[in-house]
């Protein structure tokens, strides 16, 4: 069995020195460590840890100075707060706490450092082998077709995968404007309006559709096939809405395996007449077969190269109208995310009450409290605003409900869930014990910080997949 791989973030002032000294003294410990020197454990973002897992680490070690001895005051205390919350997220993802450790190591104690690495390696060996689950499809994403030119009106297609139809409703909310935008185009596929026949799409030359707007996450084999087909046929593939963009709420399905999802619906639901009949998909008759659920929900980009994104759950009609018009004129830049590049906070009426620094001694819950008309974060309520792209017209915060992040990441900050988990944890006050207690008051880190982005997280496969 290969040696477990541990990514270690080591504080320059202590753990890194201990590691250095251990080497100088020729202490033996497993060569499983990939060391990264950081100035302080406070520099270690949860996003780094998640990225390490995503890239195949079996374990992550964060090691730094003992509480009270941080060179920067409270860097290690912040690290402890983030760690407490991160462990709870990892538990939800099926990742054992053995895989993610925060340890205090004195610079003058190389023996302890070596022992720690030996012990962690042993424990990782005892765990079922990683790495964590990859994306749901074993196949590489479908690439864009070679550039093609089509005479005549530009062809446009709309299709939906695992979606609720809310994006399409938003397109319809354009009303009369929609007719004007589509006036010069030919709609070749739109199950709502015209025919949804696959055969006709297959018959089109590759690259002959000017733009395909595809909503929904990819949950079934059939949806993957449709996504690939539309990619081949379209010069521009636009991910429409949060589910196509980041997996959306459907991505929460990755917290469970396929077997568990089927069991919850057809085995343990309290209203079933019996709980031992055939499951859907077990028809036995080929003509009545159902498309299989993929092992995992994935965003569109996992199965097909995406040229542009209209974010949101749902995107506003304004953003959609603009995206449609640009796409049909051929002016849609590749890689564009068609929403403002600033955070939701900029659009939030509560922004003036957001303090530069704040200290949280308690976490509040929407079920049992009424929010004040000030910044939710300052009140101890999780809000995704600072890490989330604006453009939603501040709809939820406008009715006194914190943001859950449907517009997705900001430019240059690809992991809003990890960023907000870190930001909120870093505001918590108290000693290690108190931080642990406060972290448990945020009961559902996965559903809170990754409501729309869970499909992008590393995780262990659930049972029954």
């Amino acid at each position: 069995m290969p040696e477990p791989r541990i990514v270690a973030f080591l504080c320059e002032w202590c753990a890194y020195r201990a590691a250095d000294e251990a080497g100088r003294r020729r202490l033996t410990y497993p060569q499983s460590l990939l060391s990264i020197r950081v100035m302080c454990t406070g520099r270690v973002e949860p996003a780094f840890v998640l990225q390490a897992f995503r890239e195949g680490a079996d374990g992550v070690l964060v090691a730094g100075c003992r509480p009270g001895s941080c060179h920067y005051g409270d860097g290690n205390r912040k690290a402890a707060a983030r760690h407490a919350l991160l462990l709870r997220l990892l538990a939800q993802l099926g990742i054992s706490p053995e895989r993610c450790r925060l340890e205090w190591v004195d610079g003058a104690d190389p023996e302890r450092f070596a022992a720690l690495v030996r012990e962690m390696t042993e424990r990782l060996r005892a765990l079922p082998p990683g790495p964590l689950a990859g994306e749901g499809s074993a196949r590489a994403p479908e690439r864009a077709p070679p550039a093609a030119r089509e005479a005549g009106r530009p062809k446009v297609a709309f299709y939906w995968n695992a979606a609720c139809g809310g994006c399409e409703e938003s397109v319809l909310d354009l009303g009369e404007e929609l007719a004007a935008i589509l006036a010069g185009a030919e709609v070749v596929l739109w199950p709502l309006v015209s025919d949804g026949k696959r055969r006709d799409v297959e018959a089109l030359p590759d690259g002959s559709i000017a733009a395909a707007f595809l909503s929904g996450a990819v949950r079934t084999s059939e949806e993957e096939d449709w996504s690939r087909l539309l990619r081949r046929k379209s010069r521009l593939l636009v991910a429409l809405g949060a589910c196509a963009h980041t997996g959306g709420v459907v991505g929460l399905g990755n917290l469970s395996g396929r077997g568990e999802i089927l069991a919850a619906a057809y085995r343990s639901a309290p209203s079933l007449e019996r709980s031992d009949g055939s499951l859907p998909g077990e028809a036995g008759e080929p003509a009545l077969a159902l498309p299989a659920l993929l092992p995992e929900v994935v965003p569109l980009e996992a199965v097909a190269e995406v040229d542009a994104v209209v974010p949101g759950c749902p995107p506003t009609p304004e953003l959609l109208g603009r995206a449609l018009a640009l796409a049909l004129r051929g002016d849609l830049p590749r890689g564009a995310v068609l929403a403002p590049g600033h955070s939701l906070c900029e659009d939030c009426a509560r922004r003036t009450s957001r303090p530069a620094r704040f200290a949280l001694e308690a976490v509040r819950d929407l079920a049992t409290s009424v929010p004040d008309p000030t910044c939710f974060l300052a009140q101890g309520m999780a809000c995704m605003g600072p890490a989330t792209r604006g453009g939603c017209q501040a709809a939820c915060v406008g009715v006194n409900v914190p943001c859950r992040g449907c517009f997705g990441p900001l430019p240059g900050a690809p992991d809003p869930g990890a960023a907000m988990l870190s930001a909120l944890a870093s505001q918590l006050c108290g000693d290690e014990e108190e931080l642990g207690r406060l972290a448990t008051q945020i009961p559902d880190p996965a559903g809170t910080f990754f409501r729309y982005g869970l499909a992008r997280l590393p995780r262990r496969r659930g049972s029954g997949s």
Partner: protein
């Protein structure tokens, strides 16, 4: 060896839908299935989430009727936390909900069901669209319909933050009180909405009830189904969308059940079939007897016509007058599947009248819109009437309010069994000796479209109709005949 006819895609429930018709050797219909080939798994992935997030999370079940899920969820949370919202909170939720019902129902009429009714099943495919309806009923109608949708959705967004995927309902009330300006806009708009709903009901009466073809279709055998009917009623037995008691009447119209949301498990069970992801609810008292109609069948219908049957009367005067007109024409209870369209317009009128009534109630400006729960959460069941029928959310949590059980019984699911039957019945009536023609296609399509199954509902707001393709295959699987409709892209 039998032959097989596929209609794919048809409609939209959680995604897509597909009809399979199997013919025997003589070319007669042997079996017919509406398959729903998708499952997203809400019952599972909501577990462990805080229940308070459910009104937002479950709104994502359906982008067409997020309002229904949002409020069914809120009702379940009121029960879960054992907290009664203040009167103003109920009013605000009801306002929002009636606006939604009106918008959804009216649009179904104009865009989806309307073409069938107003233009008749014989009209050329190219005319059977919203624009065809507009042409028949008058040219400023199109503008009026688009305006009414815009008006209603604008008012909804004012209350809930946005029209779709709302965020305003919480256990014990709502997250924001109405301000004077909003209330004024509502009061000002309400009469226009009532006019619009009344005008629509009248347009239906003028354009359809005088049509011998429609009347013949109404009574035609493929479109009749004798079933129990289910719907919410208030304490006076009046039809209610937002709260009340579930009432079930038997095919003869006699009350056979009345129960509170939290007793649903005593009365409803669900059956699973291996060929679809949809579960089939039935009345426990009758048991599962397969897909059969009649007095003994445990299947029941929900949705507009079933609600009219199940209620003793409508809640508002003009809607009551319309309901009386309907029952006078069809007898009571009504089992004509195509009368779902008519009942939808009766309900749209009630919704508009309710908006007007509530908007003029000074109580809606009361700033007290939320009561905080005091007790520990345990179990809560919430029921509302979604446009397509009874919608139920059942949650159980630990004492921190984290979900340990989620069960959703959605409107199109209650009707799934009757829809199977309607399709089989329609197909059996029109397919003989293996011959399938355009007319057969229309009839099969009309039989399920009347239910406005949620997979179709997204089509509401665009001109056009459900695309349909029927493939007739030889026993070898070779395609012998393809009939397709709605294939010309239209805008």
């Amino acid at each position: 060896m039998s032959r097989r006819i596929t209609i794919d895609p048809v409609t939209r429930l959680e995604g897509h839908g597909k009809v399979e018709v199997f013919l025997d050797e003589r070319g007669e219909v042997e079996r017919a299935f509406l398959q729903v080939p998708e499952l997203r798994g809400f019952e599972r992935f909501c577990l462990g989430r805080p229940a308070v997030e459910m009104p937002q999370v479950t709104a994502h079940v359906c982008g067409v009727c997020p309002a229904a899920h949002h409020l069914a969820s809120a009702r379940a949370l009121d029960a879960l936390y054992r907290v009664e919202p203040p009167p103003a909170a109920h009013r605000i939720r009801e306002l929002y909900y009636n606006l939604f019902l009106l918008e959804d129902h009216a649009l179904h009429f104009y865009y989806l069901g309307g073409p069938d009714l107003v233009l008749g099943s014989g009209a050329p495919a190219a005319q059977r669209s919203f624009s065809g309806v507009v042409e028949r009923l008058g040219s400023d109608l199109g503008r009026r319909v688009i305006e009414a949708r815009k008006l209603a959705r604008g008012l909804m967004a004012g209350i809930a933050g946005r029209a779709g995927h709302p965020a305003f309902a919480l256990p014990g009330g709502v997250s924001r009180a109405l301000d004077r300006e909003q209330a004024e806009r509502l009061r000002e708009a309400a009469p226009r909405l009532v006019d619009f709903a009344a005008f629509t009901a009248q347009a239906f009466a003028d354009g359809t009830l005088r049509s011998p073809e429609y009347l013949a279709l109404l009574e035609a055998e493929p479109f009749r189904l004798r079933h129990h009917s289910m719907g919410l009623v208030d304490e006076a037995g009046r039809l209610s969308f937002y709260r009340g008691t579930v009432r079930v009447v038997d095919p003869a119209g006699r009350e056979s059940l009345r129960f509170e949301a939290d007793r649903y498990l005593d009365h409803i069970a669900e059956h699973v079939e291996p060929w679809t992801y949809v579960k089939f609810p039935f009345l426990r008292s009758r048991g599962w007897r397969g897909f059969e109609e009649g007095d003994e069948s445990g299947l029941y219908r929900v949705g507009p016509l079933a609600r009219l049957n199940a209620a003793e009367r409508m809640a508002t005067p003009r809607a009551q007058a319309e309901a009386e007109r309907l029952f006078a024409a069809l007898s009571r209870p009504a089992h004509q599947t195509l009368a779902f369209h008519w009942a939808r317009l009766v309900e749209a009128l009630q919704a508009a009248e309710e908006v007007e009534r509530i908007a003029s109630d000074p109580e809606i400006l009361d700033p007290e819109v939320r009561r905080l729960p005091e007790g520990k959460p345990v179990r809560g069941v919430g029921i509302v009437e979604a446009p397509r029928g009874t919608l139920l959310h059942h949650y159980e949590t630990d004492e921190r309010g984290l979900l340990t059980l989620v069960n959703l019984v959605v409107a199109s699911q209650h009707n799934a069994g009757p829809v199977q039957l309607s399709i089989r019945k329609a197909a059996s009536e029109v397919i003989h000796g293996g011959k399938v023609d355009e007319q057969a296609l229309n009839v099969i399509e009309m039989a399920f479209r009347a239910y406005d199954p949620c997979n179709a509902c997204a089509s509401h707001a665009l001109p056009g109709e459900l695309p349909l393709e029927v493939t007739v295959r030889e026993p070898t699987g070779e395609v012998r005949q393809v009939l397709a409709r709605g294939l010309e892209p239209r805008r």
